[in-house]
Amino acid sequence: MHRLIAADWLKTRRYWLSWTLLGLMIVILVLQINGKIDRLAELEAALASGAEIEGSPLEPQAPTAEAGLVEAEWLRENLRYPAVIGYAARLATNSGWFFLILLTAVMGGEDYTRGTLRSLLTRGIGRGRYLMARCLTFWLVAGVGVLAVTLLAVAGGPYVHSQATDDPISLKGLGEALLVPVRLWLACLPYITAILFLVVLARQAGPALGVGIGLRAMEILSGLVLPIMEILISSGADVPLIFRLETHLFSVTIGYSADIFLNWGRAFTEAALTASKIGLDSNMPASPWRAAAFLAGYTILFLGAAMWVLRRRDVTYKG
């Protein structure tokens, strides 16, 4: 197995897409953190001068000073060192999940599209071992991405801290902050196995990429339904069945489970907080153990399904 992983690793290292996506993810992350620093400065300035606070485009009216204060405190807590390490890891998922899906689909599908699957399988590698090696290699690649984000946050964290607060840096909470990248790495597995399953099913990268990106986009859109509901439905009012079903569906997605898992030990994720405001707490369970079980379940389910499909199918011509 280690030989197969070494071979896969050699390929991934030499493929331009891996490095391009890693670079893009880092750039996006830096821009996101910079945006958060700017937002904090904007809030502080507005609160100090008593000016109106600018809200998100979805909000019908500007946030109150109290809401601005809460948001500023929340940002300060996350940008403080070492909490910023965990925050950076969570922020990296915004682009990271898409890039992981893209890389897994393209590199996972290339053995089908280029015809190299034949050459590999005729070396006496079992199909199960081939798939496990691919899965572990992508997980290793994801680990490199997580490590890069963590190192960046560790190195750049003190600067971000100095922009967010005048308090001296303390290492309190370092252990918890460092656990977030580890959780992030674990949360990559269900995405990797899901995309590998789609690749094996479609026998090419294109459809797997399309479906993978589509599903991730649906996760995001499902998440966006909550703030819309928050605006439309006052607390305690009856929530239409369709929205209840939609939130149920959202709560079993990989994205929601990963979000809860990454926020282990924190009171609420953004989605769960919004759900509680409109009385849908029961639809959006925020238990990290449940989330971990879902992520493990998806990993096993998709890996098993991919293995089953690969084992029973003929490998003919390019596929």
Binding site: L10, S119, V315
Partner: protein
Amino acid sequence: MSASTAVIRTYDLTKRFKKITAVDGVNFTVHQGEVFGFLGPNGAGKTTTIAMLLGLVRPTAGSAEVLGHDIRRNLSSALRRVGAIVETPAFYPYLSGSDNLCIFAHILGDEVEARIPALLEQVGLKGRGKDKVGTYSLGMRQRLGLASALLGDPELLILDEPTNGLDPAGMQEMRVFLCRLAEEEGRTVFLSSHLLHEVEQVCDRVLILNKGQVIAQGQVGELLSQAHGVEMRIEGAAQAAGILTGLDWVQNARHEGNRLHVQAPPERAPELLAALAIHDLFPSEVRPVVSTLESVFLDLTHDAEETPDA
């Protein structure tokens, strides 16, 4: 191995894709150290048979043994002693030739990697090993494919159209190379090719497949001698055919108008003429017919076309 020299043995090997029978009860044996030609027109089932032998495609019925291992049960250990090119060799274009071989070497074992420079030299890619495969011509990819097949020092080479894309000099080199692999290094070569002239020069035995069925197999010399003959233009061709068929060393004599084709060794043409002269039959024209594998192949596949149930 069950029979000491059997490297590949198939037993009624069959593959059906829904309603299409691609390979239909194929039986053959490939012996150790021989170069075995696997021939057939497009769509005859050659690649499907090879894919079954390499575990890429599962047989619908029948079975086969490769290096003594049943392909349905324990093929992985056999495949470690097999080198193969199936259709066009496939590589990662963003890696160099050398790195592509490294990928396969990693899989086969650490010691294999040391063989890469020598193999690149052997297949004539010494100076291009560091170049990306994306810049290679088809012929160069074929050479790299052969190097990749030889990486694990295999006992059996299964090559599907290895001369595709090679120029005449490259084909000549490949021919010599394959002969050397069999004769000097004792490897068994299972060669599927459309280039019958190549096969005739390289192979010890051949099998001809058409519409998934074996229509001929045997020593190349045997197949050719069966097709050698004498052609005559003669009045009374029907009577002449009857007379010559009566000779025990004449395999067949058939006529069409005043043309007579006698299946017999061309060097015995004088004896044929003497036999006819006894009956006052004198051909106006006599010429020996020396067959090539190509003409045998075309005759056999054409005959099979004419008798669809064959």
